[in-house]
Symmetry: C2
Subunit: 647 residues, 2 copies
């Protein structure tokens, strides 16, 4: 495909964006260091290899990127998220790294104070201290506020007593727990002077240096999982385990020696959400990783589809490359276009993470949380669907482990439900939109939402994206009513979001104290939809912004086509809404389907080069079907056929 | 749920249907014999266990069901398909059984003659002779007619020489090949007297009794796969391997000692499709198994959702069972309704298999093939989607191997592309519909289709289902234009199929010799859609027939609701088409969404009992979350909360 009109180098630079130096650093590191997936090993072997690879990674300088500079870190939390996008070929390693440096280390940084930083951060970065993030319980996963583990302060001993009152309160699915972790950040209801001050985090040793489980702690192995078997997930029970008072991560709440509780934030609910808000990086990282995995899967399937041939063209010799079939293009190319769109949206999200973290801007923080929740949901679902489509597009070859799709599928599957269940996350997004980001911290529950909307609804308020003014200009100057007109496309997305939100607000306004649950529950599909169309619009605007930044005309042209495909396949999938609400008529609906087909055909010759532009480190592309074996076979067969004269 | 108004026993009998005795036999066998999944074992251990289980199964009397009575079989091929539906908890065993007794044994029965039956069938049934079905090649999976392995007759030696000319011609993904198989049914181009007579099958020993690989044969292990690792898939190469003339399975084509070829069917194409047609059982079995797996997944997810609680209802004590949330219902209940619909369609398919096999009715045979292809595609995609939804609905617990969904997902994933790639199968269905089952054996290729349609198109001809006259009566007597009116619903499905087919025919009529590929390829999405809406209609009619057979009023009432949910969620998903073609207006479109929500709420209390009615053998339900652990935890937590007085 060397005749493509656009310059892959230019496209790569645009895709690499502001953290290009981080991406290059990872590419360089992986060029020099092998970190192969251990999927072929048994559980213990896979875990051991992954721990070894963690040690290698610790020395690479990549994990420390996100830690504060004063303790030897890189002071670049956003950059550290970007680095994770580059590890899609070994997701057990990526997830274990995320647990150690993102969740465990990140919690110590964000919720702890100098005494914790001083004592632990260096050991966390170097992996001297492998740790766990013990938040989820068997009985409470999504509803973190209702965790049942307790940390009761004993003023006589100046210790906290950490306790698991019953099986539903055990810590569940905790990464690093079953084998390697020595310490855990444990989330528990903080009780002192007889009062419960809500969920707080504290450091609890779970194993001695030797690996022996600490007294009062019981750990069970979660055993085999669908994927990610290099990560040692476990369950932790605490039986009246005592830790010093100083082990409380006390940035947002502290207990004095005498047991007096104090916090810079009065409201229990607001305190809880503030603490959770500092952990936003985990969610952004999952979206990053899911995006990376989807791109790798697409690269494998597109490279195979480009050379794999099946069935003869009537009246011509030779067989047809499967990617030349429209049906095959439709499985893969709209997913490729959406991967570009989500890539640019993720870029914006990471930039806004960088700007918001520590800025004290509460509204920006709420927007960031909403955006992170929504993009995490949409990106992880996209990854699941895309990898599935890629597996099917590669047929039996896609089912063999050697061709990587099996592992990508199994490893990423849990992304849709961990670090926040996607359904719950979309509800958070919808609530954020409806409440216009007012500080309803104590009322974010169902009743709170319903009441708020009934009382104060004044219409949907747009979250501003970085490119909103540009988008508005495009809409305003658009006179054309054409499906390929950018202004028309943007207006469609705007319009849909407004309308869906307006309708939702009208429905929820009927709620009162007696029927709040029923009203909310009956509208749940509407709530989820509102969040989705909102995120769709945010993603689209990020794409617009990226094309606007692109100074090379040929590259912008191909990106324009990808954006058309993203927009029109989105509208096509949601055609019912646009017809139902008379935004399009039947004739236009048909034109949109035809346009999607046309765009697939136009983009097909560039497919491989486009997916290569993401610059996934070459170490991760090992599938024989994507690295020459299939082409060699086809060539040999053609040669043989020719000798026989059978074709 | 003991207060449900319908009688689960009555429903079970209806679902068990005509082969209830087979289902009961399997339930009984599995009650007495443990055949647990070996998913937790390494590859070699898993394969060894599966072979052991095959030996146990061989003694149960189940596998011989499908073989001719004169050789000690049960003479009930349809019953043998039904038996496979009942093994969803150990899919490696089911697939290996399918390879041995369905594909390998089935090919010897269908393509061989007395000399083969006499010599091999008893050993095949008893597993004395483990065998392979070596059809697929690396270079040709879907396009079987173009296989490149050759079987060249040598009259001097009265032997066939079987040969793999190049890597693309090696046999690929062959079950039983890597470890256990001793003999293979090998599909190859039959060459004699210098002429190629097309693909034929012959018996080729691949290992000696001791397990040593036979001379001239090379076998590679396909290695780990996404799932089904108890099945030993391998690649087979033949280097001028000689077998006696008598090893040709000669029912549809024979070679005399002097090399003269003869066949009861003159046309090469017709011969090929006739031979393939006899192997229909494999495809029907895959649909059966996929159906069983989807039901087991639903039972796990529904049992968990029924007791798993999360988030409090405002103003009330206690948390809400997750299956009470509309969003959760929408993930699982339309899938449950579709599982009922597909179950009844599969029942009809199996009955028509029974009636058609060996009847010599060519039109019935074509209809059977089309139906089997379509149902295989729709059912396997349904299984993939449903198991995915179930996994997500169970959150982190769904990701743990102990809760079975991981295994179900991994094992069934390949079903969408093996025994016929679903996309290719849907095209077969569409071609069948368009050609009105005329004997276009030599022209089933792209050009053939286009030409045929251009020349002879006279409008879509309905394949008659068993209940077509009943359906027509319901439509005719329907006066009501209500979305819950059965006549209206049936008319919608009829209408859609007719319209989509008409439109497709119009498009294809534009094809001539110069543009056939382009015309066909541009319409490929339309072709696939035509097949899908056709199958949707066939499935719906099977559901109508089943309710008609139900004599118990309360049971019929609940089935009516399930059918409403199946129909309306189908229309909802395809709303765009109905709006675009003015079959419904926007107001009705909204009413349909509301009706789906209402039906979910109405069916929710009966969900567990409904899914239980499928009567999946209890041996397969081992997931702790579905067998009491979660309920016990929730009870203990509630008790503890009450003691604390915190709730």
């Amino acid at each position: 495909m060397t005749d493509a009109a656009f310059d892959p180098g230019v496209l790569r630079r645009l895709l690499d964006g502001r953290w290009a130096h981080v991406r290059d650093k990872v590419r360089e590191t992986l060029h020099e260091t092998d970190l192969p997936s251990g999927d072929h090993l048994d559980t213990e072997g896979h875990r051991a290899l992954t721990l070894e690879q963690m040690r290698t990674l610790a020395k690479s300088g990549i994990p420390e990127l996100g830690f504060p500079a004063e303790y030897g870190g890189g002071g670049d939390p956003a950059g550290s998220v970007v680095s994770l996008e580059m590890l899609p070929g070994n997701l057990s390693l990526m997830v274990k790294a995320g647990v150690q440096w993102g969740l465990f280390g990140g919690a110590v940084v964000a919720l702890g104070t100098e005494r914790h930083h001083e004592r632990y951060l260096r050991d966390i970065m170097s992996l001297e201290l492998p740790g766990c993030f013990a938040m989820t319980e068997t009985g409470h996963g999504s509803d973190v506020q209702n965790l049942r583990t307790t940390a009761t302060y004993d003023p006589a001993a100046q210790e906290f007593v950490v306790h698991t009152p019953h099986e539903a309160a055990r810590k569940e699915y905790i990464g690093n727990a079953a084998r390697d972790g020595r310490m855990a950040v444990v989330f528990a209801q903080l009780i002192t002077e007889g009062g419960n001050h809500g969920v707080h985090a504290l450091l609890v040793p779970i194993r001695e240096q030797s690996g022996k489980v600490a007294g009062g702690v019981r750990i069970e192995d979660c055993g085999r999982k669908a994927g990610l078997n290099g990560v040692d997930n476990g369950r932790i029970y605490f039986d009246q385990v005592r830790v010093p008072r100083e082990n409380l991560l006390n940035r947002y709440g502290d207990v004095a020696e005498d047991g007096t509780y104090s916090s810079p934030i009065d409201s229990v609910g607001k305190r809880f959400f503030t603490m959770l808000g500092t952990l936003i990086r985990g969610r952004v990282s999952v979206a990053a990783t899911a995006g990376g995995a989807g791109k790798l899967a697409l690269e494998i399937a597109l490279r195979y589809g480009d050379v794999r041939r099946q069935f003869e063209k009537p009246g011509e010799s030779g067989e047809v490359a499967v990617l030349d079939y429209l049906g095959h293009q439709r499985k893969l190319l709209p997913a490729l276009a959406k991967s570009f769109a989500l890539h640019f949206a993720q870029q914006e999200l990471v930039a806004s993470l960088q700007e918001t973290l520590g800025s004290g801007d509460e509204r920006a923080q709420r927007e960031l949380e909403s955006r992170a929740a929504g993009l995490k949901a949409v990106t992880t679902w996209h990854a699941t669907e895309t990898i599935q489509a890629c597996r099917e597009a590669c047929g039996g070859a896609g089912y063999l482990s050697e061709n990587q799709l099996a592992g990508l599928k199994a490893d990423t599957d849990v992304f849709t439900t961990f670090e926040g269940d996607n359904t719950v996350l979309l509800q958070l997004v919808a609530k954020g939109l409806l409440t216009n980001y007012k500080d309803q911290f104590d009322e974010l529950g169902t009743l709170g939402l319903a009441k708020f909307v009934a009382d104060q609804w004044v219409g949907a308020v747009f979250e501003r994206t970085a490119t909103r003014s540009l988008v508005q200009r495009i809409i305003d100057r658009s006179g054309e009513d054409d499906i390929l007109d950018r202004g028309w496309q943007l207006k469609m997305f705007d319009d849909r979001e407004n309308h869906v939100l307006d309708g939702l607000a009208r429905r929820l306004r009927k709620a009162d104290k007696s029927n709040a649950f029923e009203v909310f529950n009956n509208a749940q599909d509407h709530v989820l939809r509102a969040a989705r169309v909102h995120i769709d619009r945010v993603v689209l605007e990020a794409f617009v912004g990226a094309i606007d930044r692109c100074e090379d005309e040929a590259t912008a042209t191909i990106l324009d086509k990808l954006m058309d495909l993203y927009v029109l396949s989105n509208i096509e999938a949601d055609k019912a809404w646009f017809l139902e609400h008379e935004r399009i008529n039947p004739r236009r609906a048909k034109a949109i389907t035809q346009a999607v087909n046309d765009l697939c055909m136009q983009l097909r010759p560039h497919a491989v080069e486009l997916v290569e532009s993401f610059g996934i480190p070459r170490q991760w592309l090992t599938a024989p079907i994507a690295t020459g074996a299939e082409r060699a076979r086809q060539d040999r067969m053609a040669e043989h056929d020719q000798q026989l004269g059978t074709v």
